[in-house]
Amino acid sequence: METLIENLKANVDALEDVELTAQTDFVHLPQWDSLALLSTMAMIASEYGVNIESQAIAGCKNLVDLETLINSKR
């Protein structure tokens, strides 16, 4: 989880200053927008080598869900 949070902060400008934990409902943060979504998808593709659809990310309740989603594709 720590690495995922680090990767998000380093690559998604909108999340750079947001305090993120495993339980953060990131898709409902005020900072979350279409560009944050695109950056997150690109980060996952380059850091984890998997492609995740935008709808699947939109369905995540928190970062635990996102991590599970990434791991399920690897």
Binding site: D13, A14, E16, Q31, D33, L35, A36
Partner: protein
Amino acid sequence: MQKDLFSLEGKTVFITGGSSGIGEASAHECANAGARVIISGRNRERLDDVLASLKGEGHSALVADITCDADIERIIKELPALDGFAHCAGMTMNALLKFSNWQDIEAVLDTNLLCTIKLSQALIKQRKINKGGSMVYISSVLASVAFPGLSAYCASKAGMQGFVRVLAVEMAARQVRANTISPGSVQTPMTQAASEGRSEESIKADLAKYPLGYGVPQDIACAVRYFLADASRWVTGTDFVIDGGMLHYR
């Protein structure tokens, strides 16, 4: 006392092409406005001459060829966090397309467009531009004017505008602005070299297209200062034509 929105006091700005013409004038303008200025170019002597004449303290120079990947990598490491980036390095080549060799065309597109993108990408990947910072690029009015002999140059400057418009949107999450300035003909070593070998008549005919005559580097430097200052806080993704009235004159 009200804050001077045009001041660059406390800001660190990086100016490519700072050793000559528009970049040199921009370095002076920014230093006069209180910025700490870092200039770059390929020629150490010319950089040192400009550096020695800048007002204020703490300025520096980085020798780098922007078409060289290793140089970009090195300057990105050496640069501090920046509040402003003014990209003034560029080149031109004048030949009708039929008579242009591919090497020259590539050199223009590489220097003016591809390396602009490469350097910008390196700056943003390393988060060298502080939040609330500003990036300004010298395009050209020739991005939207058909000037025979400058097809590669015009394409490179039009490409730069397209690139910067997208950059502006992608950088907005960090409150970083990105804009282009499109000068008409400004008296610099670049235009001096370009006019060599041209007839008196064609030079006169070109000058006649400018209701306010040709510009001087300071005319563009003032706009660079504006784009790097807090005065342009709400300006991004735009192009500012400064051309003495040429573009719309018939």
